[in-house]
Structures are given as structure tokens and as C-alpha cells.
């Protein structure tokens, strides 16, 4: 028999990376928030790779931090190795990645949650979303308890009707053997929500003591660690780091896989869900790229608390006996003892085109969602959506406009716009190539792009905001100073330039001009720059990037202006596309399905042509005058 429990403003379902951010955002914005988790011991759990960040994902974490989220701070506290990737390339693609101590990460996040005001944690399974008149009224748990609330944020990750599979073994559990959530899907279907079935996978964990590291290449962290959070003092990040190890598969490995490929549930048809192309299983790689005679394998520690090592690059759903032979064929793993088998996991998620860019369901008021439930993959993608969904659930209850970041403002904007606009047929992973304005969306300037917004929302403290304003001013002043400091073609100048391997000046120039030369940098100009005052490293970095890549940045900003024009043209929510003459049928169907919020969003829908957009513009103009 059901009974009514106390009511909350917001209920968050799931305490993974999305759920944690959503719950913290709501509670910090003073809303009475209840966070459900299937197990109190799985809060902020990392069931797959033991790291945070990586290419483009590192960008997401820094953006989360600039908006006032928790992920960056938490990994800064719990990392055991840190590395800036792509340092030989342009600043736009530099990406931070840190190995985490998994338990430490999870415990540290739990501690934050448990000590946040307005936030209540509860172990239990939510089975039903209660809706009245198209709006959320509460949730019902497995124990038949009803919690009335005004908004719900769904962050169920990979738990809905989850099934873990390897070989012929198939368990109806969530990741790491945790129990799956088996009731909520039906409730969502009853509410008319369209569900997808996706899959992903994870490699085996192997006992460190059974690995021969002498056959592998050691991979070190950076000497100078850059923190994820703009609030972490880089000078405090000096703890000893652990190593990862690199080894390779070989023809024997591939032969073992090929011989047993018919026993893989992926190929036998036992797995029906769609997997991410970015995280292919090792059997996928071997089948799709038969010409490659080896694949990289990274051996990464799961934490300081354990001997378990994560075998990155070899996720699999082959039977256990094949897994043993396959892993043991790899150099250094000849005597490997598998602690946990590799497996694939299938789960229910939604077609995210049912969401508005605010991450609220179009059809159900007050129902928000984030994370893998929305068809994405990855901890960082999840956290980013969780944060936005949480912020927007709070803002809705506060009667404020939703926070919507556009594609020119943040990777988070690209992520969400892609999810709600473009058809996803696989778990969506962030990639730098998805961001068309990436020269502007750098990890180093995430604070400059988003702190203002975080402050306005109420998740950035006044103190942090004031420090940010000072930094911003210093960058502007230093950029201007460099651009305007003249440098004559005097002999002493020529001498210094020559000593730095640069060509002499033919006429008077400026420090800015010199900085644009590919062979020179800020540091090298020190002897020429007599009025230079000491400045923080992050200020210097920004001024230098501003000047060095000025031409490219200006071009992108021009593109952004054009882009914004179309983003600003709003489409009324109730627009009847059947009323618009001359729209092509395909375009009409897509527009009716997605109901884009702006002409810009409409133009990104596949199947909507530029001519359709022109027609739409003319029609909107006509409506405006009626």
C-alpha cells in the first residue's frame, strides 16, 4: 500500500556523476533536494575507466568548474596522476586528464553531498514518475513511498533494465554487479517517452602482482600539474604520482579473437543495443581493422587502495576462457590473474530529441534529465548535463529563464545542442571536432567564458567572482600593453632577436608583432620588454594566446557573429508547421518532431535545407506582423 512521505522541491534520481552535479546545484541554489541512489556505496562511482578528463572531456570539466560544479574540485583532491594532452598542438586542443583513485573520488564526493545544506540522500529505487496534467507531481519508490515534488531530474545512467553480458553469461544487473532498476522504464513508456537501448563495455581488471611491467613502457604524469578547478592553487598539487604502463596486442591476440568471434554475444546477436564507436571492444577493432597488426593497451591503476589494474583498450564481451587466453597473449600479461571479467552492458535510455535545450522534457513539465540516460557516454558528459539539468530545474522553480549555453560559448553547449537536435544512434561522446568554434572554446579560458554566468546563477561565490574580475582586467591590460609597446630596429634589439633564432627587424615594430612570430614567445621577449611587471602565469598565458593567434581568433569571432544572428531568431513554441506553405515534406516532418527553439537550431537539423530555412524566416516575419 502506498503512503505519502515528506515533499521536496526537487528529486534527483541517481547519484552518479550527473546526479551528483544536479543535486548539488539544486541544493546550493537553496532548493529542498532529495537524491536517490540504488546504493549509498556507489555514489560518484567510476565503473569503467579510472580517469577524469581527456581530449575535449577535460574542457567539459573545466567548464563545469567555471559554472560552479563539483567535478573539477573533486578530481583535484583525488588524482593520482595528471597529464596535459596535446601540448605539441595548439592551445585549443590542450586537454587535461587525471587518473583518479576511484574510491577516494567516490568517498570525497559523498562527503561533499552529505554535508551540503538542503540536500537529503536516500537509498532506494524510484519506480514511477507521478504526473498530473502534463506536469510532474512526485515520485514513487519500490517500497511504495510517494515523495511529492515540483521537479524531477532523471540521472539513471546505465541502470535501467541493465544487463551485463560476456560470452553466454548474462546477468540482469547494473555495473559492478549492483542491482539494476527494472521498473522505471515502464513508467516512462506509459508517459509516452520514447526509449532506446544502448550498450557499452568495460575491460577486465587484473591483479597488479601478476603483471610483468618490465615488458612495458612506463607512462609518467606531468612534473608540473595543472589543476582542473580554477579555484585550486597549482602550487599545492605536489603529491607523488603513480605510473601507467603501455603494452600492445599482437597477431596471436588477434588470432585468438578471430577464432572465437562466433562466441561473442555481439556477433551472435545476443546483444541488441548500439555501442559507441569511440569505445570499440577489442574484438570490434580486430574485425574492423584487420590490417592493424597491433593495438595499444594502457595498464592503469584503479587507485592506491587496490592492486586492481584497468586494461584500457581491451574492453570485451568474449567468454571468460577466451578472455583469459586473449589477455595472457599480451606482452607482460602472460601470467595475468583476472580479478573482474570484461563485460558489455546494455541499458535503456531515451531518445534525447524529446528534450528542450534546457534538458526539460518537451511533453512533461518539471521533468528534467541528464547523463547516460540521455544517450551520452562518459563521466564528464554526464556531469555536464547533470549540472545544467539541475540548474534549470532550480531556475524553473524560481521562475527564471533557463540557462542555455550555445555552441559558441561552451563545449557543454555543443554537447546539449547535438543531443537535442541531431539524431543519435550511439552513445554520444564529446570530441573536439564537434566544436566548430573551438579556437574560442579553450580549456584555458573556460573561466573567462563562464564565470560570469556561474555567478549570475548563484553557484560562484562573490569572493571567487571578484578574483575573476581582477584576472580578466589584468589580461586585457597586458594584451593592450604588448600590442602598443613599440620596439625600434636598434642594434641591441637585432642582436637579441638573432640570439633567439629570429630574423632582424626591417622597421619599427611592437612587442605584439614580435610575439606573433612562430619562433618567439612571451618568455623569450623578456630582455626586450623593459616595462614588464610580474603577473600570474594564467594571465600571461591568456595575453600570449590572444596576441599569437589573433588573426584566427578574429575570424572565428566573425563566424560566431553570423551564427548568433540565427540563434537569436526565436521560434514560437506552438508554431504549426503544417500552416507553412512550400516546406518540403522531409523538413516539415523533422521540424514537427523536434520543434527547434531558434532558426539556428532548425538549420542544424539534418534534412532541413537552406531554402527551407528561408521559407521559415519569411513565414516567421509574416507572423510577427499579424
Amino acid at each position: 500500500m502506498s503512503y505519502q512521505y515528506e515533499s521536496y522541491d526537487v528529486v534527483v534520481v541517481g547519484a552518479g556523476h550527473a546526479g551528483c552535479e544536479a543535486a548539488l546545484a539544486c541544493a546550493r541554489l537553496s532548493l529542498n533536494t532529495l537524491l536517490f541512489t540504488i546504493s549509498m556505496d556507489s555514489i560518484a562511482m567510476m565503473p569503467c575507466n579510472p580517469n577524469i578528463g581527456g581530449t575535449s572531456k577535460g574542457h567539459l570539466v573545466r567548464e563545469i568548474d567555471a559554472l560552479g560544479g563539483e567535478m573539477g574540485k573533486n578530481i583535484d583532491k583525488t588524482y593520482i596522476q595528471s597529464k596535459m594532452l596535446n601540448t605539441s598542438k595548439g592551445p585549443a586542443v590542450h586537454s587535461l586528464r587525471a587518473q583518479a583513485d576511484k574510491q577516494d573520488y567516490s568517498r570525497s564526493m559523498r562527503k561533499i553531498l552529505e554535508n551540503t545544506e538542503h540536500l537529503t540522500l536516500k537509498q532506494g529505487e524510484v519506480c514511477e514518475i507521478l504526473v498530473d496534467n502534463g506536469a510532474v507531481t512526485g515520485v514513487k519508490t519500490y517500497s511504495d513511498a510517494i515523495y511529492p515534488c515540483k521537479a524531477v531530474v532523471l540521472c539513471t545512467g546505465t541502470y535501467l533494465n541493465a544487463r551485463c553480458i560476456y560470452g553466454e553469461v548474462s546477468n540482469a544487473t547494473g555495473p559492478n554487479g549492483l542491482s539494476a532498476a527494472t521498473h522505471l522504464t515502464d513508467s516512462l513508456k506509459n508517459l509516452g517517452i520514447e526509449m532506446y537501448r544502448f550498450k557499452t563495455g568495460t575491460p577486465a581488471r587484473i591483479d597488479r602482482r601478476s603483471i610483468d611491467f618490465s615488458k612495458m613502457e612506463e607512462q609518467f604524469g606531468d612534473e608540473k600539474v595543472v589543476p582542473f578547478s580554477f579555484t585550486t592553487d597549482p602550487n599545492r598539487l605536489t603529491k607523488p604520482q603513480v605510473s601507467c604502463w603501455l603494452t600492445y596486442t599482437n597477431e596471436t591476440t588477434h588470432e585468438i579473437i578471430r577464432e572465437n568471434i562466433d562466441r561473442s554475444p555481439l556477433f551472435s546477436g545476443n546483444i541488441k543495443g548500439t555501442g559507441p564507436r569511440y569505445c570499440p571492444s577489442i574484438e570490434d577493432k580486430v574485425v574492423k581493422f584487420p590490417d592493424k597488426n597491433r593495438h595499444q593497451v594502457f595498464i592503469e591503476p584503479e587507485g592506491n587502495y587496490t592492486n586492481e589494474m584497468y586494461i584500457s583498450g581491451m574492453s570485451s564481451s568474449l567468454p571468460e576462457d577466451v578472455q583469459y587466453r586473449m589477455y595472457r597473449s599480451v606482452a607482460g600479461l602472460e601470467n595475468a590473474k583476472i580479478v573482474r571479467n570484461a563485460y558489455a552492458i546494455e541499458y535503456d535510455c531515451i531518445n534525447p530529441m524529446q528534450l528542450k535545450p534546457s534538458l526539460e522534457f518537451k511533453k512533461i513539465e518539471g521533468l528534467f534529465s541528464g547523463g547516460q540516460f540521455n544517450g551520452s557516454s562518459g563521466y564528464e558528459e554526464a556531469a555536464a548535463q547533470g549540472l545544467i539539468a539541475g540548474i534549470n530545474a532550480a531556475r524553473k522553480l524560481q521562475g527564471k529563464e533557463p540557462l542555455i549555453l550555445d555552441r559558441s560559448e561552451a563545449y557543454i553547449g555543443v554537447l546539449i545542442d547535438d543531443l537535442v537536435t541531431k539524431e543519435t544512434h550511439e552513445p554520444y561522446r564529446m570530441m573536439t571536432s564537434r566544436a566548430e568554434y573551438r579556437l574560442l572554446l579553450r580549456q584555458d579560458n573556460a573561466d573567462l567564458r563562464l564565470t560570469e554566468k556561474g555567478h549570475e546563477i548563484g553557484l560562484i561565490s562573490e569572493e571567487r567572482y571578484q578574483a575573476f574580475l581582477i584576472k580578466k582586467k589584468q589580461i586585457e591590460e597586458e594584451t593592450l600593453r604588448l600590442e602598443n609597446t613599440p620596439i625600434g630596429a636598434a642594434p641591441w634589439v637585432q642582436e637579441i632577436l638573432e640570439s633567439k633564432g629570429s630574423t632582424p627587424l626591417t622597421s619599427a615594430s611592437t612587442l605584439g608583432e614580435l610575439l606573433r612570430r612562430p619562433e618567439l614567445n612571451y618568455e623569450m621577449l623578456t630582455p626586450l620588454d623593459r616595462e614588464r611587471k610580474p603577473l600570474p602565469a594564467d594571465v600571461i598565458e591568456q595575453a600570449e594566446i590572444n596576441i599569437k593567434y589573433e588573426g584566427y581568433i578574429r575570424r572565428q569571432m566573425h563566424q560566431v557573429e553570423q551564427f548568433k544572428k540565427m540563434e537569436r531568431k526565436r521560434i514560437p513554441e506552438n508554431l504549426d508547421y503544417d500552416e507553412i506553405p512550400s516546406l518540403r515534406i522531409e523538413a516539415r516532418q523533422k521540424l514537427k518532431q523536434i520543434h527547434p527553439e531558434s532558426v539556428g537550431q532548425a538549420s542544424r537539423i539534418s534534412g532541413v535545407s537552406p531554402a527551407d530555412i528561408s521559407v521559415l524566416l519569411v513565414y516567421l516575419e509574416q507572423m510577427r506582423h499579424r
Partner: protein
């Protein structure tokens, strides 16, 4: 980067005494500064108040293209409510086109179908009751333009474009794969390879731009089909027309073995001349296909040149052709006037009901008569060609130039030792522009290629 300033020929292209080129958008002044000069040497139209005209010259670098009247309308008092300039020139297809091309080279882009009207409407210039008409224009004209651009694009050019696009996409995908998965994919030594491939692609694009200049991208011009029974002298005529020093000629490999096409200019008018297999009843399968093809081309032609052989009697094949040209625009030639005639002008005139021109392809006589007759037909309005095709060609050329510009930008970036991630933006821009020509959008091409071609991910 795509500009917001658009240009188009506002008058018909065919036989106007005066032609008007219209430009609209914020770059009007900067464009006119580069290409317009008054007799007293003042450049541009910035000083000219709205609704006044100035006399002067359109120049391209040092050379004068035409003397013109320029009418300036300042925003919002113009058709589009933007700054608008109209250039009135003396007409004539060649000059009018040259002016439009000059305008485009200096910062405008060819207007999309219905774009002036669209702007006028969106800027509140046109009565709202006309909205539906505007919408219809946009959609129908765009469909036509797309059809033109895809259908009229020659097979060989389509293939070249595809090769260049594929090459650009693959290179971009490689760079992007390496950026997204730096621990698996290395860019060491890639820049040198890329540079070489870009240079190769630029070479192809430059060649395509040249083809566009000569109207050879599309089957532009008056579709002219030469008909006649075998051995009547069709091919000799073709060679003669093509080989004439007045004609600009590049041979285009025909899409089929049995039909040869050439673009020929006669008195500034473009003709796409198609030499066909001789029409006759035949049992030979291969030849039969050729003859069928000839019939089909002839059906769609704007103009037929019927070549009769004066040295042998008219037969049933001539009968078929004569019957066929009854309701077509046609010119009748009596070839082999150098040989003893079996068929004379009177007989052929009587049979065809047309004026007959005597020529000798061997002795190269009568060709001037033919050219004059054709030009007269055109200027009297008896013949016309499809404006849309020319305009489509113009747009395609603008895309080629934009793509070329983007690829050169990549070479600049390489020259300036910029990191590889800076190349992608311009590479993808070139890819997108080339896609406009074939009517293909970009969508998920890059991501799909990354995953298809390169093994990446954890």
C-alpha cells in the same frame, strides 16, 4: 568566409540593350571602391548621396571593363532596405557577366535564388500579403537551381570534385582523429604530406575555375545539335567551328563514346555543340544506341544544325530529319559545295521550308554566313538559352574560389608553423564549399570518416 553582400544580374541575359547588375549588403562601398572610378579619377560611391547616379568606369585592376551609370540607394531607402548599388552597363552578355564576376571577386557572393526578394521581405519592405509568393519563389527557384547544379554538372567534373572532397575529408579526419586520440595516432611528418596533397588539390580546383570561366562546368549555352546522315560532313563542320580562331574551344570528353560535345563561342554567344552519330536505319547494335542517343539529344536541343550532303541524293534518312526539324529552331546547311551537286539549294529549300546556307567544310567556305545567321537568330530573340544555368555556374565558380581561398589559407598556416588543429577549420570550409557545387551538405561526414578510417578510442 561567406559574405553577406549579394550580387546578381537584374535584367535578362539574352538580348537587352541595357543590363543592370544589382548589389546589396554592407560591403557595397568597399566593393565599389575597388572597381568603380569616375572620369575625374574619384574611386567608389561613398560620397554619392542616395537616389543619385554617377557616370564612370568599372575597372578590374588596370583594365577598364565598361563605361557605366551607377545608381546608389542607401539603407533603408532601397528595395532590400540595405545599401544597394545598381550598375547600368551597355548590355551584351560578355560585358555584363564580366562586371558581375568582378563584383564577386571583390567581395560579394552570387545571390541565392529569390534572395533579394527574401531580404526585402525580411526587412519589412514588401507587403505582407506577398509573403506566400515570396515563399514560393524561394522554394521553387532553389529546387530548380539544385536540379540544374546536379543534372547539368558534367560527369567528369563531378568525379574530380568528389576526389578533391574525399581527399580533404580524409586529411581532416586524420588530423581530428589524432587530436582526439593523441596517444594512438601521431601527426609526425603529416604536415609535409598534407602540403603536397593540398597543392595537388589546388591544381585541380584552379583548373575547374578555369573551366567555369569558359562556361565549361555546366552545359551552359545554347544546346545545339548537329544532325545529318552518315558522312554528310558533320564532324568536319564541328572541327571547323571548333578550330576557328574566333572560337574559344576546349574539348570535353563526352559522357558517351558516340557523342562529342564542344563549347563554342560565336560573336560572344555560347553554344554547346553536340556532334551526333549519323542518323540512319541500322541493324548494328552499337550504332543503333548511338543513333537513338542522337535522336534524344535532338529532341531537347535549342537549335538543330542539319547538314545535308549535296553530292548524293536525299534519302529516307534525310526525310526523317526534315520531318523532325519541322517544329524546331533549325538551320539547314548544304555541304560539299566544292563537289558536283546532286542536290541543289532550291530543292532543299523547297523540302525544308527554310533558308539554306551553302558551305564547304573542306574548303572552309560559307562558315561566316552560318555564324551571321546564328547570331541574328539570337539577337532577334528567336533563340535563347537558360539563364538559370549561367547563374548556377556563377555560384559554383564562387564556391570554387572560396574553396581555393580556404586551401591557400591552410598553406599559409603551414608556412607560419601553426599547429595542426588550425588547419581543420579551413579544410572543412573548403569541403563545405565544394559540397555546395554538387548539392551535398556536410552533416556528420567528418565524424563518420574518423570512425570509419581510423581505429581509435580506449
Amino acid at each position: 568566409m561567406r559574405t553577406d553582400t549579394i550580387a546578381a544580374i537584374a535584367t535578362g541575359l539574352n538580348h537587352a540593350g541595357i543590363s543592370i547588375i544589382r548589389i546589396s549588403g554592407s560591403d557595397v562601398d568597399s566593393i565599389m571602391n575597388q572597381i568603380f572610378v569616375t572620369p575625374s579619377g574619384k574611386r567608389g560611391v561613398k560620397e554619392i548621396p542616395g537616389y543619385t547616379a554617377r557616370y564612370g568606369y568599372i575597372t578590374d585592376g588596370d583594365s577598364v571593363i565598361d563605361e557605366v551609370l551607377v545608381l546608389v540607394m542607401r539603407a533603408p531607402k532601397s528595395y532590400t532596405r540595405e545599401d544597394v548599388v545598381e550598375i547600368d552597363c551597355h548590355g551584351g552578355i560578355v560585358v555584363t557577366r564580366k562586371i558581375l564576376e568582378t563584383v564577386i571577386r571583390h567581395g560579394a557572393r552570387p545571390a541565392e535564388p529569390g534572395e533579394f526578394t527574401k531580404r526585402a521581405f525580411l526587412n519589412g519592405r514588401i507587403d505582407l500579403s506577398q509573403a506566400e509568393a515570396v515563399i514560393d519563389i524561394i522554394q521553387s527557384k532553389n529546387e530548380m537551381a539544385l536540379k540544374n547544379s546536379v543534372n547539368q554538372l558534367k560527369g567528369s567534373i563531378h568525379k574530380k570534385l568528389k576526389q578533391v572532397r574525399d581527399s580533404i575529408l580524409r586529411d581532416t579526419a586524420y588530423i581530428e582523429a589524432a587530436l582526439d586520440d593523441p596517444e594512438h595516432i601521431s601527426l609526425d611528418g603529416f604536415t609535409e604530406e598534407l602540403k603536397e596533397r593540398i597543392q595537388g588539390n589546388l591544381h585541380v580546383i584552379d583548373h575547374l575555375i578555369e573551366s567555369a570561366d569558359n562556361g565549361k562546368l555546366l552545359k551552359e549555352g545554347i544546346q545545339t545539335v548537329i544532325l545529318g546522315k552518315p558522312n554528310a560532313g558533320k564532324s568536319s563542320l564541328m572541327n571547323l567551328l571548333a578550330g576557328d580562331e574566333k572560337a574559344i574551344v576546349t574539348e570535353i570528353a563526352g559522357t558517351t563514346r558516340d557523342v562529342l560535345e564542344e563549347m563554342i563561342q560565336i560573336k560572344g554567344i555560347s553554344f554547346n555543340v553536340i556532334d551526333t552519330a549519323g542518323i540512319r536505319d541500322t541493324e548494328d547494335t552499337v550504332e543503333k544506341i548511338g543513333v537513338e542517343k542522337a535522336r534524344r539529344y535532338a529532341k531537347d536541343a535549342d537549335l538543330i544544325i542539319y547538314v545535308a550532303d549535296s553530292s548524293v541524293p536525299l534519302d529516307e534518312n534525310d526525310d526523317e530529319i526534315i520531318e523532325f526539324i519541322q517544329d524546331k529552331k533549325a538551320i539547314v546547311l548544304l555541304n560539299k559545295s566544292d563537289l558536283a551537286p546532286v542536290v541543289d539549294v532550291d530543292l532543299l529549300t523547297k523540302r525544308t521550308g527554310r533558308t539554306v546556307i551553302k558551305i564547304s567544310a573542306v574548303e572552309e567556305t560559307g562558315i561566316e554566313d552560318l555564324e551571321r545567321t546564328v547570331a541574328d537568330m539570337f539577337f532577334h530573340g528567336d533563340l535563347s538559352f537558360n539563364d538559370e544555368i549561367y547563374i548556377t555556374n556563377m555560384r559554383q565558380k564562387a564556391s570554387l574560389i572560396e574553396a581555393e581561398h580556404s586551401l591557400r589559407q591552410v598553406l599559409d598556416s603551414i608556412e607560419n608553423q601553426m599547429p595542426e588543429d588550425f588547419y581543420s577549420i579551413d579544410l572543412m570550409n573548403a569541403y563545405e564549399e565544394l559540397g555546395r557545387i554538387t548539392g551535398e551538405s556536410v552533416d556528420e561526414d567528418l565524424i563518420d570518416t574518423i570512425f570509419r578510417e581510423f581505429c581509435m578510442g580506449k
